[in-house]
C-alpha cells in the first residue's frame, strides 16, 4: 500500500461495454497509474475509447468493470453522492467546449465548486478565485458574464475553476481542441507550470501530437487497448 500511496490515480482491469445499439467491448482490460505531479496525455484515434476512459476515471461514468483508485482509496462502487463529493474535492475538469455557466459571471463560475464544498467562507473563496484568475492572467474578466468572453479566455476560466478546490488531479478532455495554436500554447504552458509548481497531476485526452509530445508520458490507445505507455516520442 505504501508504494501505491504515491500514485494519485490507479486503474485496474477496466472493462467497459456499450449495449446500444449492439453490445460492443469498448475498453479492454486497461491498467495504468498516474504519479503525483505527473503530466500524462492519452492519445489515440477517434473511437478508440479514450474519452470513454476519461469519463470512467472522472467517476461520472459508473457502468464499468474493474477497479479505480484515487489517492489510494477505492472509488468504484461508491454511491452517487460520495462520487459527487470526490469530483468536487479531488478532481478538476477542463473540457473541450469550456462548459461555463453562461448566465453567471466569470468569478461566480470559478467560485461555485468551492461554495459547494463549503470548507471556506465566501470571502476566502472570492480571494482564492481572484488569485487563480490572476495566476492565469484574466483577473480583469472577473465581473464579465461567462457568455461574453472569448474561447481562449473561457478555457482559462475553466482551468481556474478546476483549481479552486486544490484537487489532486486535473483531467482534460481535449482542453485545447477548440483553440487556435496561440491559445493552445498558452493553455499548455499554464497546465505545465501548475504541474511543476503545485505538484499537480494532469491527465489530458488529446488529438494534438505537438501537445502530447510536450507532456511527461503518453498513453497510446487503439481499439480499446493501451498499446504503448511510453515517454514522449520526441525524447525516445
Amino acid at each position: 500500500m505504501s508504494i501505491e500511496k504515491q500514485y494519485i490515480l490507479e486503474a485496474r482491469a477496466i472493462n467497459k461495454y456499450f449495449t446500444e445499439p449492439v453490445r460492443f467491448h469498448v475498453l479492454k482490460d486497461l491498467n495504468f497509474k498516474v504519479k503525483k505531479g505527473e503530466f500524462v496525455s492519452i492519445m489515440g484515434k477517434s473511437g478508440c475509447g479514450k474519452s470513454t476512459l476519461l469519463y470512467i476515471l472522472s467517476t461520472m461514468d459508473t457502468q464499468y468493470e474493474g477497479e479505480l483508485y484515487l489517492n489510494g482509496s477505492l472509488v468504484t462502487g461508491k454511491p452517487g453522492k460520495e462520487l459527487a463529493y470526490v469530483r468536487n474535492a479531488e478532481i478538476g475538469f477542463v473540457f473541450q467546449f469550456h462548459y461555463l455557466l453562461p448566465e453567471f459571471s466569470v468569478l461566480e463560475n470559478v467560485m461555485l465548486p468551492a461554495k459547494k464544498l463549503g470548507l471556506k467562507n465566501t470571502e476566502q473563496i472570492r480571494e482564492d478565485a481572484i488569485e487563480n484568475l490572476s495566476l492565469l492572467g484574466i483577473e480583469h474578466l472577473a465581473t464579465q458574464r461567462a457568455s461574453r468572453i472569448s474561447g481562449g479566455e473561457k478555457q482559462r476560466v475553466a482551468i481556474a475553476r478546476a483549481l479552486i478546490n486544490e484537487p489532486s488531479i486535473i483531467m482534460g478532455d481535449e482542453p485545447t481542441g477548440n483553440l487556435d495554436s496561440h491559445n493552445s500554447n498558452v493553455v499548455f504552458d499554464i497546465l505545465k507550470e501548475l504541474c511543476q509548481e503545485k505538484q499537480l497531476s494532469l491527465l489530458v485526452v488529446t488529438h494534438d501530437l505537438d501537445f502530447a509530445n510536450k507532456t511527461d508520458r503518453i498513453i497510446e490507445m487503439a481499439d480499446g487497448m493501451i498499446i504503448n505507455q511510453s515517454l514522449p516520442f520526441s525524447t525516445e
Binding site: S51, Y55, S58, M60, D61, G80, K81, A84, Y85, R87, N88, A89, F93, F95, Q96, F97, Y99, L100, L101, P102, E103, F104, E108, L112, P113, K115, K116, L117, G118, R161, N165, D173
Partner: protein, 419 residues
C-alpha cells in the same frame, strides 16, 4: 445541503430569464388571484342568499299545530282493543293555540347552554282597515329588540327603526307591501281589526321589507304586549317560541327532544329548509370546482415552463454534476426555482385577488328585493388567502418536482459526449 449556494444558482437562473420567469409567476398570480376573487364573490353571494332565509328563520320553532288526535277515543276502550275500528271523517281536535306554560318553558330554555336566545311571539291574523277596504294580514307580536339581536330584523327595516317600536306600545312596523297598497307612510296611523272584532289604531314607526313579496304584503311587527291586547289575552298568551342556538347543527336533535318532552310541535331549521341547504351545497361545490380548475391550469403552466427550462439548461446540469454537485443538489435547484415562482406569483396573486375582491365590494348593486344591499356582497374570509397560498406552494412544488427529478437523473456523460 448548502442552501445558500442552491438558492443563489436558482436566483441567477430565474433572473437571467426574466420574461420567462415572469410569465410562469403570472400564471400562478392569475390562478390564485381569480381563485380569491371568485371564492370571495361566490361565497359572498351564497352568504347573502343563505342569510335571506336562514338568518331570518329560527333554528327551532315551538308552537301548537292544529292536527287531528292520533288516538281516537274508541281505541282507548278495552272492549274494542281486539277489533278493527274505523272512524270516518276525523276532525282536528280543538286545542289551545297558545303554548301551555309558555313562560316557565321559556325560562328553562334561556338557561340551556346550547341556546343563544328565545323570543316569545304572538301571531294573530288581522285586517288592515282603510276606509271600506279590509286587507288581510298577520301581525307578529314579538320582543323587537331581541329580534334585532338574534334575527337581524334591522336589515329589513327600510324606514324608521326597531327601537322606536320598542318604546311605544301603540306602534307598528308595517310591511312595505301593505304600506304601498294603502299609501301610508311613517308617522301615519293605521286601524287594525283583530279576529275578535276589536279595532286598534296604531302609529306607523317603521316599514319592513323582507324581499319576499308574499310576506311584505301581509306581515307587520308590533310589541308582544300589543299583540296580546289585540287577542284580548294576558301576558301568558304566547303562540310561538323561536329559538336561536349557538350551533345550528344541534337543531334537529334538540327539536325532537323538545317535542317529546313538552308535547309540542318543534320545527327545526334543517327540516324546514332542506331543499335550501342542498342549493347552498351545490353552489359551494361549483365555486370550488371552478377555483381548483383555475389553480390546476396554473400548475400546468409552471410545469411546462420548467420542463422547457431544463432542456435549455442541459449543459448547465452536466457541468454542475461534473464539478461535484450531486443529483439531489440539481433537483433542489430546480424545485427551488419552482417554489420561488410559486411564492412570488402566489403573493402577487393574493394582492391582486384582494384588490379585485375589494373592487367588486364597491360596485353598486341594488335590487328591490334586498333593501339593505347597496353593493355586491363579498366575503373577505382570510381562509381563502390561506388556501390560495398553500395551493400555490403545493402546485408549484409538484409542477417543479417532475422536471426536477428528470434533471436529477440526467447523465452528464451523455451531455458532454453529445457536444
Amino acid at each position: 445541503m448548502n442552501w445558500s449556494v442552491i438558492l443563489g444558482i436558482s436566483k441567477t437562473h430565474l433572473l437571467s430569464r426574466k420574461k420567462q420567469s415572469a410569465i410562469a409567476a403570472l400564471g400562478v398570480t392569475f390562478g390564485i388571484g381569480t381563485f380569491i376573487t371568485l371564492a370571495s364573490f361566490m361565497t359572498g353571494l351564497n352568504g347573502l342568499l343563505d342569510g335571506l332565509i336562514l338568518n331570518r328563520t329560527p333554528h327551532i320553532r315551538l308552537y301548537n299545530e292544529i292536527a287531528p288526535s292520533e288516538q281516537q277515543p274508541v281505541e282507548l276502550l278495552d272492549e274494542f282493543s281486539e277489533s278493527f275500528n274505523l272512524v270516518r271523517s276525523v276532525k282536528p281536535k280543538r286545542s289551545l293555540q297558545r303554548i301551555h306554560n309558555a313562560l316557565p318553558i321559556m325560562n328553562q330554555l334561556k338557561n340551556d347552554p346550547r341556546v343563544r336566545g328565545v323570543i316569545p311571539q304572538v301571531q294573530s291574523s288581522v285586517h288592515y282597515l282603510a276606509g271600506s277596504i279590509h286587507l288581510n294580514g298577520i301581525v307578529n307580536g314579538t320582543n323587537v329588540l331581541d329580534e334585532v339581536r338574534l334575527f337581524n330584523l334591522n336589515d329589513y327595516i327600510v324606514e324608521g327603526s326597531a327601537s322606536s317600536l320598542a318604546r311605544n306600545i301603540n306602534a307598528i312596523i308595517l310591511g312595505a307591501g301593505v304600506a304601498d297598497k294603502l299609501s301610508l307612510k311613517i308617522g301615519d296611523r293605521i286601524q287594525i281589526r283583530s279576529s275578535n272584532g276589536a279595532i286598534f289604531p296604531l302609529k306607523i314607526v317603521g316599514l319592513y321589507q323582507s324581499g319576499l313579496a308574499d310576506i311584505d304584503n301581509v306581515q307587520s311587527y308590533v310589541n308582544l304586549s300589543t299583540a296580546q291586547r289585540l287577542q284580548g289575552e294576558g301576558k301568558h298568551y304566547i303562540t310561538d317560541l323561536n329559538l336561536k342556538l349557538y350551533d345550528i347543527e344541534e337543531a334537529p336533535g334538540m327539536a325532537s327532544a323538545l317535542s317529546e318532552s313538552l308535547d309540542i310541535t318543534a320545527l327545526d331549521i334543517k327540516t324546514a329548509n332542506a331543499q335550501f341547504e342542498a342549493g347552498t351545497d351545490i353552489r359551494n361545490l361549483i365555486t370550488y370546482a371552478v377555483s381548483i380548475t383555475l389553480l390546476i391550469v396554473a400548475g400546468f403552466g409552471i410545469y411546462n415552463i420548467l420542463n422547457m427550462m431544463i432542456y435549455e439548461k442541459m449543459n448547465d446540469i452536466a457541468i454542475l454534476k461534473a464539478t461535484g454537485f450531486s443529483g439531489n443538489d440539481v433537483k433542489y435547484i430546480f424545485i427551488s426555482q419552482a417554489m420561488l415562482i410559486g411564492i412570488i406569483g402566489g403573493a402577487l396573486g393574493l394582492l391582486i385577488g384582494s384588490g379585485l375582491a375589494h373592487l367588486i365590494d364597491q360596485v353598486p348593486f341594488e335590487v328591490d328585493a334586498l333593501p339593505t344591499l347597496k353593493t355586491f356582497p363579498v366575503n373577505h374570509d382570510p381562509n381563502f388567502y390561506l388556501i390560495g397560498i398553500i395551493f400555490a406552494l403545493f402546485a408549484t412544488f409538484f409542477a417543479g418536482y417532475l422536471p426536477a427529478s428528470k434533471a436529477r437523473k440526467i447523465d452528464p456523460v451523455d451531455i458532454i459526449r453529445g457536444q
